[in-house]
């Protein structure tokens, strides 16, 4: 009898510890990624092209050396954000990730893409038809096919035409 209460406490604390740690992993790692990008000098609401991915330049796990990346950090708690990027000459995509690492939006940036941009708003502010709901910090990522240095240079040149601006 005297061991029943500690046994129940053991099981309950194990279950709760498992639940909270497991569900805290994505947010913790995404937070570390934000810190890394900030330390690398990537300001919020600005598209920044990454150098070609090599063992020396890689910043996050499993980068693809065949792609040209550009990244924008944003936070909807300071207001809605408008995100867009031009189409390219080959395969490309613009994807948005929430603070739990979920890929909540993808747009095709390949030749002939009709993508004109997306508004990202907090749930309470999402009154705009077609706007994406995202509460808090997010990461927008452009990937473009760039298996050569020339292709990487051409993909990088498109970053200046991409938008990641607060609205209003």
């Amino acid at each position: 009898m005297r061991l029943i209460v500690p046994a129940i406490a053991f099981v309950l604390s194990a279950v709760l510890g498992h639940y909270f740690v497991l569900n805290g992993i994505p947010g913790f790692i995404m937070g570390k990624a934000h810190q890394t990008f900030e330390a690398e000098g990537i300001p919020p609401n600005t598209w920044v092209a990454s150098p070609r991915q090599t063992p020396e330049t890689q910043q996050i796990v499993r980068p693809s050396p065949d792609l040209a990346y550009a990244i924008c950090r944003f936070d909807t708690t300071t207001g809605p954000v408008f995100i867009s990027a031009p189409a390219g000459e080959r395969y490309g995509s613009l994807s948005i990730f929430d603070d739990q690492t979920d890929n909540v939006f993808v747009a095709d940036l390949g030749p002939g893409s009709s993508f004109t941009g997306i508004e990202v708003r907090r749930p309470a502010e999402n009154t705009s038809a077609g706007a994406l709901t995202l509460d808090g910090r997010g990461i927008a990522l452009i990937r473009r096919l760039a298996p050569s240095q020339d292709a990487h240079d051409r993909a990088t040149s498109l970053v200046s035409d991409a938008v990641c601006n607060p609205i209003g």
């Binding site: 005297r2 497991l22 890929n103």
Partner: protein, 204 residues
């Protein structure tokens, strides 16, 4: 007093056990099991819930640790292989021949990563092989390349460097996969073969 002490000890040990098992099942401690609707085609493993809201917390934790910013399956699917076709762990000491053909997707690439999920720290400039290179070298037909810690004797032979890779894996990325692949991957995808050629100078 003893009851309180037992209770505190139980809470501490329980919480620590729960946290450790979460880290293990979530892939932050190596060797943990994979939980989810995993796809396994000849040792090439994937999970269609990667990147999606439908991912269970174990898959989401593993993706955060091993493939942060991975896209959902409609845009890209990811297959990882850690063993050769004979079931032996891929390792730097061996040379492998990877061969394949076309895939039901817009574009594909195969990249080598070390056990820490990073590109191996070598300066060989041979980190991956992709459809563009295969189309160029093999004119769109069946292709193959070597994975080895040093350049092959034939300087024109396609290869990917495993130097400084230790125990590594290779990842097949299929961008904009077609609907048939997403609906029925096990009968639609014929993934690359990974044949061990030699280890430490001995031909297998």
């Amino acid at each position: 007093m003893q009851v309180v002490i037992r209770l505190i000890v139980a809470l501490i040990f329980g919480a620590n056990l729960g946290a450790l098992t979460a880290l293990w099942f979530g892939g932050l401690i190596s060797g943990g099991p994979t939980i989810g609707k995993a796809i396994d085609i000849n040792g090439w493993r994937s999970d269609w819930s990667i990147g999606s809201k439908n991912a269970n917390p174990y898959v989401r934790a593993r993706v955060a640790r091993n493939g942060l910013l991975a896209m959902r399956k409609e845009e890209a699917v990811y297959f990882t292989k850690t063993e050769d076709d004979a079931g032996e762990r891929l390792r730097e000491a061996c040379t492998y021949r990877v061969s394949g053909d076309t895939y039901p997707a817009e574009w594909w690439s195969i990249t080598l990563y070390d056990a820490q999920n990073y590109l191996p720290k070598n300066d060989d400039g041979r980190l991956s092989y992709d459809q563009t290179a295969a189309d160029s070298f093999y004119a769109g037909g069946p292709w193959n390349f070597l994975v080895s810690p040093s350049a092959p004797s034939d300087p024109s032979a396609p290869w990917v460097s495993s130097r400084a890779g230790g125990q590594f894996d290779i990842m097949l990325r299929l961008y904009q996969p077609n609907g048939d692949l997403l609906d029925d991957p096990t009968t639609t995808l014929f993934p690359p073969r990974v044949e061990r050629v030699s280890c430490d100078g001995e031909t297998s």
